[in-house]
């Protein structure tokens, strides 16, 4: 008996594979249709509706949405009270992003370049574990930690550093009555909840920087600081930017932490929440919601201009 040169199709699986081989695009279309439907209709569709809403306005007397194109709602954003909310949110988001980046880098660097085997597992667990517990639980836990009667106050008095804590709280603007009612406390909680979203992309980017590149830099006479500035950072920058997009946009959109921690100053997320709910001002809520999108686009444009994606 001779072995056949061409096998007969054994069943539908063989026939399907054959069909996909003859028409490679078919498989692609089949695979992409459901997610594209979801993304295109549900996701982009609602985004478009949001945009549309922001160009409507509300009738001040009846409180009814007037479905006519106007820039009135956007002009309202520039009113001092509203503009303050935007400014406050952007500054907080930038500070949180910077804080996350500075704290993440050493951890991500260690994980990417030195951690092996068991230490790598410890790293992933350590970073992800906090994500498994409820966000609300974490925020309320932080409120207790930061409260006037909380662990931090207690620890400060136990180590006789109450004076330092008081000096910190006495700082203008960012200080306050206690950590849990100050911008400082809010900053700490934001950094805590969003830092995994910075560490992971950063670690992935750093892992992709070949060791030989770092050695080549040292070989050519660069100090550690020079290598960091001219080789590691530019090569890891896409990861840092990816992480900063997460931390920046997550902070900008959050409406829970500013309610629980801090001095109850308004943030974009809270403003959207109140405007679409109790106030029933959907157009202004939509306009507020567009602000983070615009800011992110500007940010990405700047990052691209600075060459953050050149190494991609």
């Amino acid at each position: 008996m001779t072995v056949p040169a061409i096998f007969a199709a054994r069943g539908s699986a063989d026939r399907l594979t054959g069909l996909f081989w003859r028409r490679p695009r078919l498989l692609l279309v089949l695979l992409l249709t459901p997610p594209l439907l979801w993304l295109g209709v549900v996701y982009l569709g609602s985004l478009a509706t949001l945009l549309l809403q922001s160009f409507y306005s509300i009738d001040e007397f009846s409180g009814v949405v007037v479905p006519e194109f106007t820039l009135k709602t956007y002009a309202e954003l520039l009113r001092p009270a509203n503009f303050d909310v935007i400014l406050r949110t952007v500054v907080m988001s930038a500070a949180v992003t910077l804080g996350c980046a500075v704290l993440s880098f050493p951890i991500a660097y260690f994980a990417a370049r030195y951690a092996k085997g068991r230490w790598k597992a410890v790293f992933y667990l350590g970073v992800m574990l906090p994500l498994w517990s409820s966000y609300l639980v974490k925020v309320y836990a932080w409120k207790l930690i930061l409260a006037k009667e909380g662990i931090i106050t207690w620890a400060a008095s136990a180590t006789h550093t109450t004076a330092a804590l008081d000096a910190l709280l006495a700082l203008p603007v960012i200080g306050g009555n206690s950590l849990s009612t100050s911008y400082l406390g809010m900053f700490a909680v934001f950094v805590y909840v969003w830092i995994p979203y910075m560490i992971l992309p950063m670690q992935a980017a750093l892992e992709r920087v070949p060791t030989s590149m770092i050695e080549a830099s040292a070989d050519l006479g660069a100090t550690r600081a020079q290598t960091f500035r001219t080789v590691i950072l530019p090569l890891a920058l896409p990861g840092v930017v990816a992480g900063s997009i997460f931390t920046f946009s997550l902070t900008m959109g959050d409406y829970i932490i500013p309610q629980i921690v801090g001095n109850s100053a308004n943030f974009i997320g809270m403003a959207v929440y109140q405007l679409q709910g109790t106030a029933g001002n959907i157009p202004l809520a939509a306009a507020f919601a567009v602000v983070p999108i615009v800011i992110m686009l500007i940010y990405l444009g700047l990052a691209k201009r600075m060459g953050a994606f050149d190494a991609l």
Binding site: M213, E215, G221, V231
Partner: protein
Amino acid sequence: MTAAVEFACVSRHFGPVTAPIKAVDGVDLTIAEGAFFAMLGPSGSGKTTCLRLISGFETPTSGQIRIFGQDVSQTPPHLRNVNTVFQDYALFPHMNVRDNVAYGLMVKGMGRAARYGRADEMLSLVKLDEYGDRKPGQLSGGQRQRVALARALVNEPRVLLLDEPLGALDLKLREAMQDELKALQKRLGITFVFVTHDQHEALSMADSLAVFNDGRIAQIGTPEQIYAQPRTRFVADFVGSSNVLPPAMTAALGGPAKWASLRPESMYLSASGPISGTVTALRYLGSGTRVVLRVGEADVAALVPTGAPVPQIGSASAFAFAPGALHVMEGE
């Protein structure tokens, strides 16, 4: 002449102390200033590790390394005036070719105009004048290799380390680059330490070469010495695929009862030759045919030049060899 690099019983072990991987094991080595020194050996024999010990990316487990007489055990890589052409070139992908080449000058604080001037000089030295504005990703393998060379040479190092720099190139380009490298080294007078596992490359380029095996140096000498007078069976076999004759056979051929080597190209077919047996394999090599003869327990190969008659597989045949071709080895 001073020694550019000296190894005094240098070892580099990896892994647990109880069962170490001896990547480099008790190596003694002197590389003369201005020499083209090759390190030859099979994969995993410790060549790269030796280079990394010189550049400072590995520290010896024991022993001492001196560069131009100075002990470098406390000197970090960036303070050694030694540059490396890496096995994978390690060009910086986010910089263009000119910035890559100027990198060493940049980190030493040279101004932009001056360092770009020097970089362009270097690029023309390696015949890449037109390529300064490209990114490394837009270059061919051979061009990348030359950028890596220019990037190292721009620093005017005292010693240049090259780790299999021609490994990724095709044969034609490789031969061209071999000649270029050799000419460049003569012109600049810089000490080159060149790692390769290609014996032809090592023999044709080096002034002096070390054959590595299992982290140790099997033999060190000029290419002629290594080729004609291998000290051990390993060297004879690895460099030029020589015939290694067991002691009994050496004695039968009129030598002492020791291992000996006999080069295939110094043998010829001769009906009355002293080495007789059955032809077991023929391999056509273009310039000649390698004829393998089964003699008792051993295989002996001879190179028959193209044009001369070649015996058939299975037929009885005999070889003779030129007087003095039989080299008796000192080592095992």
